[in-house]
Symmetry: C2
Subunit: 417 residues, 2 copies
């Protein structure tokens, strides 16, 4: 059987399962989530053995230690998977809610019903806990899922998949509601992202090159973000204490996350705070790269070059630029940014509201650290990813982002005149 035939079989199974999952009750899907948790809990020995195989293969093939670490399924990480399943089971069910019902002049009543998207394809890299996390969010929101993890985690993912199948079947849902692609063949990804008759949306999670490839080749809609070139702009008249706290937090709270600040913009009127900021950031080990005007105030900054303004460092490096004021800051963000998350520190209400409206990013903030751009911090309960696309979901994507709304019409025999 060719990879394409295999994947079409997976797709057909998912499409059939999707109708059953969409029609299932909230109670049944919650029971399935808890049954998956129980199955994983009972299978700790099998999970550990499969994971040990992956780790051994990884070490043999010279996998990077950081990747080996992410690949490892420790007892603590398994506990976290179980806890995640319970939390998702406890979240409110978005499916089936009817809203905005209004009566029209014809007498029909028209509203929206929230419904699952159908079949969701997830493509991700080495962390096997994503298998459970993604499957649980898709199942809770009434969708079927096809999961394609990294080849280095194949044994772990298959062991997890068998627990998920048992949980699903124990609750009367079809085992094909969640399927893990059990081949390391890279062609499987190509098939998954092009079979539009079986897959409604693809969510790639991983490095930029994976996401770029998926976006370029997909014939199915993709929910994604490519870069997180996030900015903090310190406005003229901003509170220096607040500005310093937010800038330092946005840069140093974590370096490797997509909502970390990569460029700081400072209004010309507030360059007096640059020396204190530079001292604090350097104390935290951050390398600073400044524009010329920055370097007249803090002469020992490295000079920033054009490419720095586009860069997502994901590292203890920060580009710093002095701008005349709000307009130049927004021009900079809209030109160099990645439409992810940008924040203004200001005391000026009109400037705050202009920034909110005119900065074209998925999250726009006033007086808060960019690090808040996160499904948990936004109260979504969980997050399947972050979208910087404009259609459908924008920003952190929770359960609601895995659903859509259709029109429902309640009539009493009305016909059109």
């Amino acid at each position: 059987m060719s990879i394409e035939q295999y994947m079409r079989g997976v797709g057909q199974g998912a499409r059939i399962a999707a109708r059953q999952v969409a029609a299932s009750s909230t109670a049944q899907r919650n029971a399935a989530l808890l049954a998956v948790a129980a199955a994983l809990d009972e299978s700790r020995a099998q999970l550990a053995a499969a994971n040990a195989d992956d780790l051994a293969r990884g070490r043999e093939s010279g996998l990077d230690p950081a990747l080996l670490d992410r690949l490892e399924l420790t007892p603590v990480r398994i506990d976290a998977m179980l806890e995640g399943l319970r939390q998702v089971a406890a979240l409110p069910d978005p499916v089936g809610s009817i809203s905005d019902v209004n009566t029209m002049p014809s007498g029909i009543r028209v509203g929206h019903m929230r419904v699952p998207l159908g079949v969701i394809g997830i493509i991700y890299e080495s962390r096997p806990n994503v298998t459970v996390e993604a499957a649980s969010l898709c199942l809770k929101s009434g969708n079927a899922t096809i999961l394609r993890g990294g080849s280095e985690a194949l044994a772990s993912n298959c062991a997890i998949a068998s627990c998920i199948s048992r949980g699903l079947e124990a609750s009367g849902l079809p085992a094909t509601a969640v399927q893990v692609v059990d081949t390391a063949d890279r062609e499987a990804v190509g098939a998954l992202i092009t079979m539009a008759e079986f897959v409604d949306v693809i969510v790639p999670r991983g490095g930029k090159s994976l996401i770029e490839r998926v976006s370029r080749e997909a014939r199915v809609p993709v929910i994604k973000h490519l870069d997180g070139v996030c900015h903090v702009y310190i406005d003229a008249g901003a509170d220096h204490r607040m500005a310093l706290e937010i800038a330092i937090n946005a840069k140093t709270h974590r370096y490797g996350t997509c909502n970390t600040m990569e460029t700081l913009l400072v209004a010309a009127a507030e360059t007096a705070l640059l020396p204190e900021l530079a001292t604090a950031l350097r104390a935290a080990g951050v390398e600073l790269r400044g524009c010329e005007r920055c370097r007249t105030v803090v002469p020992d900054m490295l000079p920033a070059v054009e490419q720095d303004w586009f860069e997502e460092y994901l590292a203890p490096v920060l580009a710093v630029r002095v701008v005349e004021g709000l307009d130049e800051a927004m021009d900079h963000i809209n030109h160099y940014g990645s439409r992810h998350t940008d924040s203004i520190v200001t005391r000026d209400h009109a400037n705050a509201m202009r920034f909110l409206r005119e900065v074209d990013s998925s999250s726009v903030m006033i007086n808060a650290s960019t690090r808040f751009a996160d499904g948990f911090e936004y109260g979504l309960g969980a997050e399947i990813g972050i979208s910087t696309d404009k259609l459908h979901a924008r920003g952190p994507v929770g359960l609601e982002g895995l659903t859509s709304r259709k029109y429902v019409v309640f009539g009493e025999g009305q016909v059109r005149r």
Copy 2:
């Protein structure tokens, strides 16, 4: 200059204009809509002359009389364009509204702000009034537009475009906020649907072959529907009078529209209504094609073949099938339908709610004619098209479908712990 260079110039102009339109006030955009109406009103002579050129060329090249009729800009049609502009100006502005603001445990307040999509590309066929209609909806919702009409309407569209430019400039908005592609070269469409850096979404309006080509080749998201294979299902126990009225209206109110019923499904318990239905539909000139069970009740129906169940006739033809009950009806709709609009006629509440939930179409109705699936009938004020896609807008797409929601965060200096 190559077509591609020309289109990139158009795209760049639109991208720059989009920021200005997005930042403009509601009053300014409404003033522009009314100024466009005034400019069209003043230019009736030029519009008539340009349209006469198109019509003459159309006649010479042997254009179909139906197409010639659609191409014609009569004084009544110009009046309708002006009235349309005034109506769009009077609609509420969706842009900038902030909703669902909640305070999180960290103290930040998180909500959604509705914002324009950016640059919208519209590809359409011969009716020149679409130029004004589409431009007005995009402008009202804060977007820039690139319009690509049919080559047979090029002179008319260019004359309309010059009025639009004057209206925009009179109100202080950039003329490039609405651009009409003024070349008949077909490569222009190819360029428009692939320049993702300048175009955020494409809305094709026209025949199925146009929409198929656009969907296949686009590298930009497309809002579209391909088919309208709409169903009415008459449930066991349905009121015969209501069932007959809805079925007859859904089929005969208009034949060429996408929300017209193409297949009627009748529960086996209600086949007694088939003779009266057949008589009424035949009196209206509708050809009936029935399944075998239908033909045992109404023997002189033509036999339906497999292909009939997939067919969007757009003509006085109806396929009729007897099904066992609700489950078989939903199986039929989900298999043969096009996810456009489907309606159940029933007195059974549980069946009504199952149909509403389990039929995976953009509009699902209880006891109403499928002909109601329309932006005006749904209270959207206007409609740019109908979407049968699952992501973003689903069903009739009004102003809100031309916007998206970003996250906005209101803080008072919060940082992430």
